[in-house]
Amino acid sequence: MTTHIEFNDLSLGYRNHTVLHNCNAQIAHGEFITILGENASGKTTLLRAILGTLPPTSGSITVFKRTPSRTTARHIGYMPQAQPWLDTHYLHGEAWLHANVCSFRWGLPRITQQAQDECEHLIHLVQAQDFIRKPLYTLSGGQRQRLLLAQALLGNPNLLLLDEPFMHLDPGFQTYMITLLHTIRKAKPLTVLLSSHDINPLLKITDRVLYLASGETSIGSVASVFTSENLSKLYKTAMMVIRHGDYVFITPRIIQ
């Protein structure tokens, strides 16, 4: 297995504010990693560093064995955290998706038959055919998420970064999306980094988890990361892991 992403003593932050501190990890080609952590724990920051839009404050990061750059970014499918579309988003979904195709090339926006077929295929894959001709500003949060996922899958990337993809999604589509990711990964080795608040829907599909809390990170299998001892150390406060069947839940230990 070749290494796809590597963090070496990686620290990330903005100005005087450190978000992640000395993170070390190696992620192999084809691995599915769930990034867990509270709001503002650094999940998005880490994804930005992989994309190359945020340089490390210290340490290093490599993607496909190279420093993140324009070239590596083009092989990454990125689904950002959903922002609401403003009422100035007048285009319909298909026109929007077409605008995403090879958008870094100079010249007039053009789309080849092949790219058009790919868009068509992705629209069906994310089940967006019913609302694809509606203007973006009329779409719901879940519909928006589906289009963002379709956009991330454009151009057959070999690394997918999904930032909170389940936000706004109804449970039915959440399950569908997990199955979809599973199907895509069976067809070809695809590295996935998915950030989420909850590990439970992903227990079956995830290979390892990367847990972020108070600037520290912990990476490993669900069983090894989700222990009261490990999480207490990470959160710097007493935590408790509760298992119910296959499911895991964590809570601060308040009751003695």
Binding site: L51, G52, T53, S69, R70, T71, A73, R74, I76, Y78, P80, Q83, L86, T88, H89, Y90, L91, H92, E94, A95, W96, H98, A99, N100, C102, S103, F104, R105, W106, G107, L108, P109, R110, R133, P135, T138, Q151
Partner: protein, 265 residues
């Protein structure tokens, strides 16, 4: 059609058509990027440029061009947060007007030209002006065609564009410079006070009733042509100023598009 026998009428129509085409197409991206207020500010800055040109011995048009392009460079380099900030733009815009007044006070020879810059004069377009307008328009549109694809994407999805390694700053700086050249040119015809109208109204109206990029651009240009041609025509019939009719038709087309948007939903 007797009107077309007069050369100045023909020139007005030619100039108006060039301006409508340029302002329409650039305006489409201005509206997509929600940079309308920045375009408006460039208009006022171009007034200061025209008024100040005499002080350093330049033609008013060159003074306008110089100052707007410099401002565009500044806005582009300072980034999106700057030129989408109502406060920053409002303050700079007011200061530019103030400078314009000071320049007119210091150097009065261009006072009449400066008035033209404010309100435009479609009826006094010379052949030379027409040629230079055509040249600048072609240059601006060529430059726009070159950056159109990443520009569209940056305008729609800045975060995704950045993730794909597109330099938002570079694209926005180039776009602002194209906008500066266009604003300077449009202001020769409709005046800086109405630049906003042709830059924003046709595109805003078209975006309300189209769903794809090219249909949007085509409808924008058609709206712009209609507004300018009918504006000139109505001005001749009524003897009221052209800018009034152009702004009036712009408003009507926008209101009409809102109605159309309602009906389409």
């Amino acid at each position: 059609m007797v009107l077309l026998h007069y050369e100045f009428v023909r020139h007005a129509l030619y100039a108006g058509t060039i301006v409508a085409l340029l302002a329409g197409i650039i305006g489409y991206f201005v509206v997509l990027r929600r940079a309308g207020f920045a375009g408006h500010a460039l208009g006022h800055i171009s007034f200061a440029g025209a008024a100040g040109a005499g002080l350093i011995g330049l033609q008013p048009f060159l003074g306008q061009l110089l100052l707007t392009v410099l401002s565009a460079l500044g806005m582009g380099l300072l980034g999106e947060r700057m030129y989408k900030s109502d406060l920053a733009i409002g303050i700079v815009l007011a200061f530019a007007l103030g400078c314009g007044v000071l320049f007119l006070h210091l150097y009065t020879a261009y006072a009449a030209t400066a008035m033209t810059v404010l309100f435009g004069n479609l009826l006094a377009v010379s052949s030379e002006t027409l040629c230079s307008m055509l040249l600048y328009s072609l240059l601006a549109l060529l430059a726009l065609a070159f950056i159109a694809r990443p520009l569209l994407f940056c305008s729609l999805e800045p975060e995704l564009a950045q993730a794909k390694g597109i330099s938002l700053r570079f694209i926005s700086t180039v776009f602002m410079i194209i906008l500066a050249i266009s604003v300077t040119e449009v202001s020769q015809v409709v005046g800086v006070l109405l630049v906003f109208t042709l830059l924003v109204a046709p595109a805003a109206a078209a975006l309300n009733c189209t769903r794809t990029v090219y249909s949007g651009l085509i409808v924008t240009v058609l709206f712009a042509f209609t507004i300018v041609w009918f504006g000139i025509f109505l001005a001749f019939i009524t003897d009221w100023p052209i800018p009034f009719w152009i702004s009036c038709l712009s408003l009507l087309s926008y209101l009409g598009s809102l109605l159309g948007k309602r009906l389409m939903q």
